[in-house]
Amino acid sequence: MSMAAEPNELRDDVLNGLQLSMQLERVWRTPSGLVGALMSVDHKVVGRRYILTAFAFLLLGGILAILMRVQLAGPEKTFLSADKYNQVFTMHGSTMMFLFAVPVMEAFAVYLVPLMVGTRNIAFPRLNAFSYWMFLFGGCFLWISFLFNVGPDVGWFSYVPLSSLQFTPTKRADVWAQMITFTEVAALAVAVEIVVTVFKLRAPGMTLDRIPLFVWAMLVTAFLVMFAMPSIMVASTSLILDRLVNTRFYDSSSGGHPLLWQHLFWFFGHPEVYIIFIPGTGMVSAILATFARRPVIGYPVVILSLIATGFLSFGLWVHHMFVTGLPQLGAALFTASSMLIAVPSGLQIFCWLATLWDGRPVYRTPLLFVIGFIVIFVLGGLSGVMVASVPIDTQVHDTYFVVAHFHYVLIGGAVFPLVGAVYYWFPKIAGRMLSERLGRWNFWLAFIGFNVAFFPMHILGLIGMPRRVYTYTADMDWAHLNLVSSGGALVFAFSFAVLLANVIYSLRKGALAGDNPWNASTLEWATSSPPPPQNFDRIPVVKHRDPLWADSESLSVVAGLSAERREVLLTSLAEAEPQIREASPEPSIWPLLTAIATTIFFIGSIFTPWAVLWGTPPMAVTLIGWFWPSGSKEDEE
């Protein structure tokens, strides 16, 4: 096996203590200086950037939400013009879905999964860096276009034929479609990294039934990304082709069909919801175990629920199309399949409730957000059961009822756990605790603000207010509830200002965290806060599902990895038995250069098909640079 000695190589078994730490740090650190920073392939550096960038987009998307709530606070307001409002709601949805919700979950996975499975770096770290740059450039492309008044205005769903060249002759729809391509490339890259990291880089002994629930959730999410995203890439690429070179995928007068778009979009769009929600459940499970002071009840039930949710999520897309004139029996079957997803979701909730029932809850901010999550998400799930019913959906579809429903599901199901996760893992990432006092303010403002903002929307939808209207007349009697909702939205927005203030304050003044401030059980708490570049001086050996609770004194470790070059330990898929030592890539500027070349290609190709021709050679050059043999000893075994 690979552990066979190579006589001249320095291994981590001959060094000890500080000497080992310093040696590994020298090997694994990100080079200094600006260029060094741009070359970084450390999953923690990339993950931190990913998280910060995603939160920056949350801020931008949130500002748009406030603009909309100001416009809708009363009837016939002229704060935003019709044209501007349509851009704003499109940008809000696109930003929140593609530039915040999905990336932020992947960002947490990029940072945490390698630590939680006990390895030194993510699989394919250069691809990881490339993924971040693509995400950043795609997001900037969308937002710069918006600032130059070329922001998309056809909705985050961009239905044809409204988004076709005939009805949107400007570049606005192209900007939307190509932003999709950017973010999908980024998301697919991370998905592959997560799957390989979880399958091959787990610490020895971390058998499948010892993987932390958060990691399981991210694994299922990664598979969802790999199966769902190709559908939207096909959709958006054929839309660009229709617009650029006059193909007729969606033109009903030439044999295409507008509903083809909707099928492709929602075949992606529904799993997308679970791509956002399942990581949220992983965060909930992680936080709950720590603050209920016991493992989550029903570990196999939770995992099977995650997997079942993943499968079922591909069988429900038609419930977004109940009013397009589908055959009645077919639609009814999608009612049943949509409601059935309540079963795995429900099982998870029951497991969490049982955990809290038996646990000894420690009421810190992360747990508050998890409790808020349960209260809000269950309501959103139940309104989801309502919209899954064909007759009910014919009334509430495309009304504010649905707006209320999916904000309950997405904010309740993903953002509350996410903010809880920020409070929970901030000490690990920054080395300092967030203020508990501000945390409580944050929670209560968010919880109250959210419900005041979104609950009235259920009623607004039932009393006839459609979505995506930039104004309404005074005689519609929607004004009072809209005003209440706008007020709630301001309070909710303020809660994020408190979060931001807390982060800024605590980065300087927060109490030092230490390795394991919450006395949690998973491996990311077995290293220092923030973790050193190599994550762990020696790779831990896992003998229990909750390693830090089972071996509170000291963890067993395995030794023998190189201490003079980057090396990770590959283990077997099911049993996590050590298999091979594998070289891990050095920092490189090529992922950035490749991303720049790809960006030029992508943006160029919405203007001229020739960009496909002149855009590819630079990409080829950068990829050759990326994969140029370095002459290292890797893969000799």
């Binding site: 044209d83 409204l162 009805f167 009013v323 009814a332 099982l347 139940l382 495309d398 006839g464 209207v469």
Partner: protein, 336 residues
Amino acid sequence: MQVWVPRVLVLCMTWPLAACAGQQSALDHQGLQSEQIRHTLFIFLIVAAIVWTAVVIVLGLGLLRRKRTADQPLDLHQPFEQRSGRVVLALGIATTVVVLGLSFVSYAGQRTVFAKDENALTLKIIGHQWWWEVRYEADSPHQSFVTANEIRIPTGQPVKVELESADVIHSFWVPSLTGKMDLIPGQKNELQFTAKNAGIYRGQCAEFCGIQHAHMAFAVIAMSPDEFGRWRDHENQSANSPTDQLGKQGEALFRARGCALCHNISGTMAGGQLGPDLTHIGSRTTIAAGTLPNTSATLGAWIADPQHIKPGNLMPKMPLQSDEMIAIIHYLEQLK
């Protein structure tokens, strides 16, 4: 299917509508279909309310109950672990039973809502950016006529609307009568509904269709079958010829100033097909697809600058002198 609904629940859901005249609301059921949907909705609502309340109570009790003392997180109480496993399983089965039950309730409601009546009064509705073309088609062409943004139907009689689109996807929605159905280019959809009571029911486009999606409303006016018959006979006739000098002047200007290029007024030279048919515009309640009430002042404001009232709509601002404007308005108002 008659359902018992707690009075309080209905009040909670509907109190904000106390002031609402029931113009456009899924809770104000004036059609057989909307009534059925409301029944289904309330069954779901009751189940949802019970489940949510139960979860929150269990959550609260779970947090507040006296906890056993143990200091090690892994020091678990085995009987509890086994019992909780069984409880979770039982609740999972219960969830399955409930959602399957609700699926059947939903399907039963769906069959009623979408039941078809072969003898329904049929009309065709074509969606345009941002107005509704309404065609009453009969076997003989003399019995067929076209109007816009206002649909008159007889009460107590099933009505079938055939839905098509001239441009992008729209959605036909009159919540007081029934749920919505999309108008999709290249596809023919249909929807049937029956109004129980006479009244004016507002409807609105529910699928985002471009810059003026917010101003794409219409009215369904349900009237007694006798009244409807009289109205229909009247609509079949060509437009009234203007009786006075000002009206005649207006008719001439309507042609000369380009209005007739887009608008049809049957029985006259005006035969444009791009905009709404104006044959009986004077008898309609609103203009600009439900955006404004139909008065001489609003009509004047609209013609003077349509882009101010509904920015981005396809009607251009025509350069008109004020006396020309007065003549045209006078003419249009006579088209009862």
